[in-house]
């Protein structure tokens, strides 16, 4: 049963309870387990049926009423065909031996044939929706912790960093800084105590990549952090999760307990002499706490506000000690890089943009869900091939990438490859991977106003341009929407955007005007239509 937060929201927990009761009632020899989410959120609740010797079948849009039919079929060694989404006969968990489920059910389409899955490449989400996130044995069964073993017993910390550098992995939190280089900064610092932090303070509206990564495969994060700690020379780590993610917190906590019980956290791991402890810190919901220095302040119990750099966290971070911070998705990429090699990883994706990226494809798009594709995949692949265009055939107007401070990219530019450089070139950003789709019914001015409203609320208030500037941008946008604005207001709006972008203290302010700047650039006509006397 797919039971990440999305599955539960779709009613998966009720289905789970119904299945549990029915299995008990019928006395069936069926093992009911929880798995994470495979990413096809529109089709939830999802139920995976695995009959020995037969392919794994994913059932979709399952309700409590379906339980009888499902169990009837399973009792006969079959699955209810009308509920079947697709079948998987073999699966490559990349770091372990390939799984062969079996053959059969010729009439059920194969996973690879489903348009939603076909263009995807699962590295980060390779276990998501297939393994039980609350059972370390399942993670180990698909090759989990082998990379850690390899790193600790066969590699020097330098070799680990070299492998990460060779992979070309870039930070998945948004800025895209090369991960291996970042690790080296902290490694180079001389200090008795160093920290690593997993930034799981995912705050972009509509973005839930990290949530699913934590809920579906928490051990992959732990393993990535363990390898990173070994390479950097840290003995303590902290996962900073927003408190709005209770299930992620629950599963991470369970994963840490299990890892500790298996000797994978604590002293002398794998007899290598390497020791590492991991704790979890809960954030209190401030968007700006995703910024590294604000995040550190928050863990230290202070108000989460960014401070100028230098000193960088790599020099003086948590409690004044060298600290390396990576995003959830960055950490989850580490085990596969160590196990398969940096060269293998570098072969995936685009130039200077190796690997895959997970996106949350949301908004006015037909198929919503979590999507993992190689970096460099054009926007149109996401929107049309995977997402199937607009709902009820409506025309797509634009996508907004990179969270509230990303930009709106018009449909005319949908051939833009989604990588760090190209998205910046069209005025948006990669951000953490939110992709909000807007169709012809959306007012782009209203959209810009929504995002400025968000960043204005979430601005920490420390630096002048962000604090005062965003408020005035919002006032001008309201004036425009009320039809009272003139051309000079538009000019001021643009000018303010430039000032905020260029002079703000942290990434929040430096990117916050993007929705306005891109909509002004690509949808100027919509602004003009609101101007005084235009109608």
């Amino acid at each position: 049963m797919g039971l990440a937060t999305c599955g539960i929201a779709a009613g998966g927990d009720r289905v789970y309870t119904a299945l549990e009761a029915a299995i008990r009632e019928r006395g069936l020899d069926v093992r009911l387990a929880k798995v994470g989410c495979i990413g096809y959120c529109r089709e939830e609740p999802l139920v995976n049926i695995q009959i020995p010797g037969k392919p794994l079948v994913i059932l979709h849009r399952v309700t409590e009423e379906d339980t009888a039919a499902i169990l009837d079929a399973v009792a006969d060694g079959d699955v209810p065909r009308e509920k079947a989404l697709c079948q998987i006969d073999t699966w490559d968990p990349l770091v372990g031996d390939p799984l062969t489920f079996g053959i059969g059910f010729k009439d059920i389409p194969r996973y690879e044939e489903i348009p939603y899955f076909a263009p995807q490449k699962k590295i980060v989400l390779r276990d998501a929706g297939l393994t039980n996130p609350e059972d370390i044995e399942e993670y180990i069964a698909v090759g989990g912790y082998r990379a850690l073993h390899k790193a600790l017993t066969q590699m020097t910390p330098e070799a680990v960093i070299d492998e990460v550098i060779a992979s070309g992995l870039r930070g998945r939190g948004g800025a895209g800084f090369p991960t291996g280089m970042k690790w080296n900064f902290t490694k180079k610092e001389k200090s008795l105590q160093k920290y690593i932090i997993c930034n799981a303070d995912e705050g972009d509206p509509g973005a839930y990549m990290n949530r699913n990564e934590m809920e579906s495969d928490p051990h992959m994060i732990l393993e990535g952090m363990l390898i990173g700690a070994y390479a950097i020379g840290a003995r303590e780590g902290i996962i900073y999760v927003r408190s709005e993610y209770p299930l992620a917190i629950e599963r991470l906590t369970k994963a840490m307990d299990e890892a500790r019980a298996h000797g994978l956290l604590g002293k002398d791991i794998f007899g290598s002499g390497f020791s590492f402890e991991l704790t979890l810190a809960e954030g209190a919901g401030a968007f700006v706490c995703g910024e590294e220095t604000a995040l550190i302040a928050s863990i230290e119990g202070k108000t989460g506000r960014p401070r100028p750099r230098p000193p960088f966290p790599a020099q003086k971070g948590l409690w004044g000690m060298p600290t390396n911070i990576n995003n959830v998705e960055t950490w989850t990429n580490i085990p596969v890089i160590i196990q398969k090699g940096g060269g293998w990883f570098a072969g995936i994706g685009a130039e200077k943009n190796s690997g895959t990226k997970v996106y949350s494809l949301v908004g006015e798009v037909d198929r919503v869900g979590l999507v993992e594709v190689p970096l460099g995949t054009p926007i149109q692949t996401l929107v049309y091939d995977i997402g199937n265009g607009g709902i009820d055939g409506r025309e797509i107007k634009a996508v907004q990438t990179g969270g509230p401070s990303g930009g709106c990219i018009p449909a005319s530019l949908f051939d833009t490859p989604m990588d760090y450089e190209h998205l910046t070139a069209v005025g948006s950003i990669m951000g953490s991977g939110g992709v909000v789709v807007m169709d012809e019914t959306t007012s782009m001015v209203d959209t810009a106003r929504f995002f400025i409203g968000f960043t204005n609320e979430e601005s920490c208030g420390k630096c002048v341009p962000c604090r005062e500037g965003l408020k005035h941008m919002l006032m001008i946008l309201d004036k425009i929407l009320s039809g009272k604005a003139t051309q000079s207001d538009l000019d001021l709006l643009k000018e303010l955007s430039g000032i905020i972008k260029k002079t703000s203290l942290c990434g929040l302010g430096q990117t916050a005007p993007n929705p306005v700047l891109t909509t002004l650039k690509y949808f100027k006509n919509e602004y003009d239509a609101y101007l005084k006397g235009a109608k």
Binding site: A286, V288, K302, T303, R305, R307, P308, R309, P310, G320, N456, E457, E458, S459, C460, G461, K462, C463, V464, P465, R467, E468, G469, L470, K471, H472, M475, L492, E495, L496, I499, K502, T503, S504, L505, Q510
Partner: protein, 826 residues
């Protein structure tokens, strides 16, 4: 390491690690700033200092961007000029134009910047956020929400320099507001007020106000404790209206910082309670007298006693906060004019124990200035809550830690604020400081070769056999891991500063405690470490007074004179700006001693408890009303400049004694020139005389373990008693004190409270052999188990009455003993 950069085309060699702003300023290149403050970590909130760097797409904030080799900086491109202007426009949107009624008018950074930028109108419209108004973290400061530009200097200074974090920003975005998040942690030091660039924080102490163009402002040295802070007194019509440090921020020892006393207590000097006329007691009633009459009364009485009982029956007790010039006049008058042997100062209480300790350290590579703290790898603090007694020293320690990663060891018998940044907190049982010091010497240095070459080691090392780590941790009840950390820090640090508060020298076995602490410094010096020795002095001129009384020598000490008065051997006493009743232990004993006198003459500013017992009173004036010198805790000479005319008829102490000497036609000459010459004979140009180097030496320590816990008894631990007399006589008349309240705090450990059945805030009686007192203790972990901690800045708590009158064998310092009190529920 240097790098080469250009700013506006000018080639500059700059120190690596400095910011563009710092380098520009050093080279006379102006970049406007609002939030930047040279003593704080760059804040980066105002964005006025943006500059362009060739090859960089974005302008950079000069205050936060370090110089890098080869960069070409431009401070005045069209783009950055426009950005600064717009940033200023945004800052000004919500700033009210109440400059005409704002205290800051005329010296406001925002006013200056708006003028500089020529901003007469701007395109934005104000939108005032609704705000809840709450009292600021101290009643001495008023917060004006609308004037705040959220530069965050106040927040940063409270966090970084003061370490209190009493204020912070609340809310986010444009609703952000400076808020007292932890008012209970606020010391009312006013550092936030002092760094506020606008009028968002204003002083709420003194109804007297003066604009910059109405007042006079003059630098002087604060006379309220021994730190010797440099400050500027603003005066208007011969009254002080405020204290500023804006133009002395780069001068030590305080670099623009002040404590609550220095910044806010200044108006006691113009208090209406000042006594301004000489008074003679006739038939138990005060009668005002003219100066001549008063002088004659003094002369008659002194002559009478001299004739009847000889010069040995007369004593002079002077405050160590008098100027060197006052003290020399007094000593000349008494010693060489009247041939009275008994003249002493309150530095006896403050510093005697430390005076002797200096001799052992002469051979060390050492420093005694507060700047040395910043070069220390390790700072060891013992016997004092520096935040309460010498906050400036505590601030410097926090700066050392922030900028130089200096480690800290704290050794006290109660928790202090500096424990929060301490790497090894050794909270020991009252009276076990000596075992802790000895144990540290033994554990860190016993095996090293360095100490063996130092004289006295052989005997001292024999004493150390009893001080194994186990024994010490057990006796002192300190954490073993903390002890080991302290030992490791002592071993590995190349430069170590020792800061001692009054809790060592002014308590039982004070001289031995100080010597044992000094031995730790000697052991460090013997191991090739650079050491700093910084006793905190309560009196503004502690070291000066000690030097002067040592030069004149002989006679009975302060405490011995009181004892002799009690025994009837001293018949006449002249007490100068001292209040023995409020200072010495065993209040009733001291009162009886004073009652026993034939003649008591008191010179002071206010009617103290001692003044009440006087036969003759002569009014003197405060440090703001005279010129001269202090020797501060660093042993440095600090200039005291007259900023006010003496109030009404009051006279400086030096003037009073030269007047009387003249009237008596004594053989001494006390003209300012002669006094000046004498002072320069006793003191060096810069401060204390530094004599030739002696060899290092270890002291032998005598130590008697005191009785430990007794059923129902607690150790009475006064935390900053050595300041009480001081507040008690002068500053208690400051209007700020009325606002702050002056009730003492009694802290009891919750475990003791449970054991003794004491509830939080309930009234109990504490009893010693000498007396009893009714108190309401607060349950707090800040009190160590077995201890009753008293926090008070004022003399009238009554706890001095609970201590017996005892003096240290070596220094003759009357001390507050290691007293056990019995606690009874009322």
């Amino acid at each position: 390491m240097t790098v080469h950069i250009t700013i506006n085309g000018k080639e500059i060699e700059a120190e690596k690690g400095k910011t563009i702003l710092e380098v520009a300023r050093e080279n006379g290149i102006y970049i406007p700033t609002l939030c930047y403050h040279s003593h704080l970590h760059p804040i980066g909130s105002c964005r006025l200092c943006v500059v362009d760097i060739e090859g960089y797409p974005m302008p950079m904030a000069a205050c936060t961007t370090p110089v890098m080799d080869g960069i070409k900086v431009h401070t005045n491109t069209g783009r950055v000029l426009k950005m600064r202007r717009q940033a200023m426009e945004l800052i000004l949107v919500n700033h009210p134009l109440d400059c005409p009624v704002c205290d800051k008018g005329g010296e406001c950074r925002l006013q200056d910047l708006a003028y500089e930028f020529g901003i007469a109108e701007q395109p934005f419209h104000a939108k005032k956020p609704e705000r809840e108004h709450v009292p600021f973290s101290t009643p001495l400061i008023r917060q004006w929400y609308d004037r705040c530009v959220l530069c965050l200097r106040c927040v940063h200074v409270c966090h970084e320099l003061v370490g209190n974090a009493a204020i912070d920003i609340k809310e986010t975005g444009y609703r952000s507001v400076i808020y007292p998040v932890a008012p209970e942690r606020c010391y009312s030091c006013g550092e936030c007020l002092s760094v506020c660039p606008v009028g968002a924080l204003t002083e709420a102490v003194n109804p007297l106000r003066g604009r910059i163009w109405q007042i006079e402002r003059k630098q002087t040295t604060c006379g309220q404790c021994g730190v010797g802070c440099q400050m500027e007194v603003s005066t208007y019509e011969n009254k002080p209206v405020n204290i500023k440090t804006d133009d002395v921020t780069e001068e030590g020892p305080n670099y623009g910082s002040l404590c609550v006393r220095g910044r806010f207590f200044y108006d006691y000097v113009s208090s209406e309670e000042r006594l301004t006329e000489p008074k003679i007691k006739k038939a138990e009633e005060w009668v005002s007298a003219g100066w001549d009459e008063a002088y004659e009364n003094a002369i008659d009485h002194l002559r009478e006693v001299m004739k009847a009982h000889g010069p040995d029956s007369i004593g002079f007790i002077a405050s160590a906060r008098l100027l060197n010039e006052d003290l020399v006049a007094l000593f000349e008058f008494a010693k060489n004019g009247l041939n009275v042997p008994n003249v002493d100062t309150s530095s006896r209480i403050d510093l005697s124990a430390h005076g002797t300790s200096l001799t052992a350290l002469k051979g060390a590579s050492s420093f005694k200035d507060l700047d040395g703290l910043l070069d220390s790898d390790l700072i060891v603090i013992a016997g004092g809550d520096l935040d309460a007694t010498a906050q400036i020293v505590a601030n410097r320690i926090r700066v050392a830690q922030r900028l130089h990663d200096t480690k800290v060891i704290t050794i006290n018998s109660y928790k202090t604020r500096l424990d929060e940044i301490s790497d090894a907190i050794l909270t020991c049982n009252s009276g076990t400081e000596i075992p802790v010091f000895n144990g540290l010497v033994k554990a860190a240095f016993e095996g090293s070769d360095g100490v063996k070459k130092v004289s006295g080691w052989e005997d001292f090392s024999k004493q150390l056999t009893d001080y194994s780590a186990d024994a010490v941790c057990d006796a002192a009840q300190i954490d073993r891991e903390m002890f080991e950390t302290a030992v490791a820090l002592l071993k590995e640090s190349a430069s170590v500063s020792f800061v001692s508060g009054g809790g060592l020298g002014q308590t039982t076995e004070g001289s031995q405690k100080v010597k044992a602490f000094a031995n730790l410094a000697v052991a460090c010096a013997a191991s090739g470490k650079k050491i700093g020795w910084l006793p905190v002095t309560a009196y503004a001129n502690g070291w000066g007074a000690l030097a002067i009384q040592t030069i004149y020598g002989g006679g009975l000490s302060y405490g011995e004179m009181i004892q002799a008065a009690k025994e009837g051997k001293i018949k006449a006493l002249v007490v100068v700006e001292e209040d023995p009743i409020a200072t010495l232990p065993d209040t009733s004993y001291v009162k009886e001693a004073l009652d026993n006198l034939d003649f008591l003459m008191v010179i002071d500013l206010f009617e103290t408890e001692t003044v009440k017992k006087a036969d003759l009173f002569i009014p003197s004036c405060s440090f703001m009303e005279k010129s001269g010198t202090f020797i501060n805790m660093e042993g440095k000479k600090r200039a005291v400049n007259q900023v006010l005319d003496p109030m009404e008829k009051t006279r400086a102490v030096g003037v009073i004694f030269s007047d009387i000497a003249e009237k008596m036609k004594l053989e001494v000459e006390l003209t300012p020139e002669v006094i000046q010459k004498k002072v320069s004979e006793i003191l060096d140009q810069d401060g204390l005389k530094t004599e030739g180097k002696d060899a290092l030496a270890f002291f032998q320590i005598s130590y008697q373990a005191t009785r430990m816990e007794e059923n129902g008894h607690l150790f009475l631990v006064p935390t900053d008693l050595h300041y009480n007399h001081h507040y008690g006589t002068d500053e208690v008349h400051a209007s700020a004190i009325e606002k702050l309240g002056k009730d003492p705090e009694y802290l009891i450990n919750p475990k003791d409270a449970a054991r003794l059945g004491v509830e939080d805030g309930s009234t109990v009686t504490i009893k010693t052999e000498r007396g009893e007192l009714s108190i309401s203790p607060t349950l707090s972990d800040e009190a160590k188990e077995g201890h009753l901690v008293v926090r008070s800045h004022y003399h009238d708590t009554g706890i001095l009455a609970l201590f017996p009158f005892e003096m240290d064998d070596e220094t003759k310092t009357p001390f507050t003993g290691n007293v056990l009190v019995k606690l009874q529920k009322s």
